[in-house]
């Protein structure tokens, strides 16, 4: 049963990633040109119908997928880099560094992420770099929270102590001793964070503080077409279902991974 879910998740995720990569080849129309009647219902020409300006929904979703996956991935990579580095730094240095970083992370985490993001985006204005940076900082605190105890355990282990006594540099045992041991937890957390980042950017774009028109990620597409729902059109649900497919498939893969490598601790 678990294997079946895993295979389905992998196939689904792979298809979505491929669709995002090959969007320009796959899209039947330009995502920014009005090619149909406004709010055209789905038919043979427009498989998922058209939006309020007559742009092809399927093409816009394919390009939206690029934004959503691209942003989620860059946010997660950035956040993992910052969060993991700081967590290991804190575990090594202990003392003041550890205390200060811990307090700072606690302080950031004690405010709901979406509220924090709204405040920052209101002040700094909405642009792609600000968006990615803000999300990455918020996500980095979660990486820190999960990795810091793991890092503490690993740093306290005998072989690390031996390496330290042997006089190895910090870089040596970080890459040769510590990272390989932290890898399973890290990978599982990374998967969870990608799924979360997808929901996060979709939420922000839905609120109008994410990717800005005329471009749109999946959340932005829902926002653009929300009005069509009240006249009985289902097309705005298509990008929303797409988002759910991404998170579901990522969760499915992570779930399998956690059981396979019996990752320690509570993740999520």
């Amino acid at each position: 049963m678990r294997n079946f879910g895993f295979i389905a998740a992998v196939i689904c995720f792979a298809l979505l990633v491929l669709a995002a990569i090959f969007a320009p080849l796959l899209a039947p129309y330009s995502p920014s040109e009005p090619v149909h009647m406004a709010y055209a219902a789905p038919d043979k020409k427009a498989l998922l119908g058209a939006d309020s300006l007559g742009r092809d929904m399927l093409s816009r979703i394919l390009f939206g997928l690029r934004y959503t996956l691209g942003i989620a991935l860059s946010v997660s990579i950035l956040a993992a880099g910052v969060g993991v580095t700081l967590a290991f730094l804190a575990a090594f240095r202990k003392g003041w560094t550890d205390l200060l970083l811990g307090r700072l992370v606690d302080a950031v985490m004690s405010v709901p992420q979406i509220i924090f993001a709204l405040v920052v985006l209101a002040v700094a204005g909405v642009s792609l770099p600000v968006l990615i940076l803000t999300m990455a900082v918020l996500e980095a605190t979660l990486f820190y929270r999960v990795i810091r105890p793991v890092a503490g355990d690993i740093v306290a282990m005998d072989y690390v102590e031996v390496a330290r006594l042997r006089g190895e540099g910090i870089g040596w045992y970080l890459f040769r001793e510590i990272l390989p041991n932290a890898a399973p937890t890290l990978i599982a957390e990374f998967g969870i964070r990608i799924a979360y980042a997808v929901l996060f950017i979709s939420g922000l774009s839905f609120l109008g503080v994410g990717v800005q028109p005329p471009d749109a990620d999946l959340g932005g597409l829902v926002r653009e077409n929300a009005l069509a729902i009240s006249v009985g059109q289902l097309s705005p649900l298509a990008p929303a279902v797409c988002i759910a497919l991404i998170t579901l498939s990522v969760n499915g893969i992570v779930d399998w991974f956690i059981h396979k490598y019996s990752v320690r601790g509570e993740l999520g």
Binding site: V123, A240, A244
Partner: protein, 330 residues
């Protein structure tokens, strides 16, 4: 010195002091971040407010008025001082006092959260307990599957499915919550129905999972094993032995759920155009009405920090060993 006295241990007092301090640090950090950010803005609030055609004299007057020429830390302390005295400043978009704009919205948000939690908590906690009792049964699996599904869905998907099904197709409820916010119970029920339903569906998954974990962690303790060995029925073990001990985690889970319902509902409020604090904040972000955004951020942070504090505090009172499996962000 006949009886050696231990130094008095006051865990509750220590807890209150240390947590209040760290909560205060969070709030100061968040508000300070807002201010540092504001300082980095290209242009300033005065020119944003008056637009392109403002005369230099008018700009200068407004800058003086808003104390924009003071150094950053002075402005920050000034703002903080005013907030402590109940003065949240003036909305840059409408010119009305922020508190006047904010309080009705806060009331609406509280009402929504209250009604939603009245439905959500019994369903989610009951479901979580049942899932723990019949662990690995088809019921547990079905619940696990649906929670996974709802946790993966963006909140607006749930909202729009409800609108499509119950409002557009069935015509039972208005799709927008802009209906009269006064005049008896009837209109209120109609206005609240869909947002509450959406919140219950979205929020229950997490609360249910946490409850299930809490009960299962109590079930794995030694005294439960003892009771099992004695041959007591599983139902009796859970109701009489496990549940009383799981009350403290369930209590904190409930409070965290309510915190989530007040704070994290921004998307749901937008979907249904519900006039709550979250919608006010998002609208103000669009207008760059920074004083309102600031105040909303402050209130949200305050509520969240206070509720988390309350959750941990009650859990501690209820269980001296502080068995709190569910902590941190909801």
């Amino acid at each position: 010195m006949s009886t050696a006295k231990r130094p008095p241990s006051r865990p509750i007092r220590d807890f209150v002091i240390s947590r209040s301090l760290s909560g205060l640090v969070s709030l100061i950090l968040v508000t300070a971040l807002i201010f540092i950010g504001t300082a980095m803005l290209p242009g300033d609030t005065a020119s944003a407010l008056l637009g392109q055609n403002a005369t230099p004299a008018a700009l200068e007057a407004l800058r003086q008025d808003l104390r924009l020429d003071d150094p950053l830390y002075l402005r920050y302390f000034g703002w903080f001082w005013d907030v402590l005295h109940g003065d949240l400043g003036v909305s840059l978009a409408s010119g009305r006092p922020v508190s006047e704009v904010l309080l009705p919205r806060l009331q609406n948000s509280m009402l929504l959260a209250l009604v939603a939690s009245l439905f959500l908590l019994p369903v989610a906690i009951g479901g979580g307990i049942a899932a723990a009792i019949w662990k690995d049964s088809w019921f547990d699996r079905a619940l696990g599957f649906t929670s996974m599904l709802f946790l993966a869905m963006p909140a607006f998907l749930v909202g729009y499915i409800l609108i499509y099904a119950l409002s557009v197709r069935m015509g039972w409820f208005p799709s927008m919550s802009v209906a009269p916010l006064m005049g008896g119970v009837g209109p209120w029920v109609k206005v609240l129905a869909l947002p509450v339903l959406a919140l219950v569906i979205i929020g229950q998954a997490h609360t249910m999972k946490l409850t299930r974990t809490a009960i299962l962690s109590v079930l794995s303790t030694d005294y439960i094993l003892m009771a099992e060995v004695k041959g007591i029925s599983r139902r009796r073990i859970i109701l009489l032995h496990a549940l009383p001990n799981a009350l403290s985690p369930i209590l904190s889970i409930s409070i965290l759920t309510v915190a989530y319902l007040i704070v994290d509902v921004v998307v749901v409020e937008i979907v249904f155009s519900y006039p709550g604090l979250g919608k006010l904040m998002v609208d103000s972000v669009a207008y760059r009405d920074l004083t309102v955004v600031q105040a909303c951020g402050l209130f949200f942070a305050l509520i969240f920090v206070a509720m988390n504090f309350l959750a941990d505090f009650l859990a501690m009172l209820a269980n001296p060993r502080q068995r709190v499996p569910a902590r941190g962000a909801v």
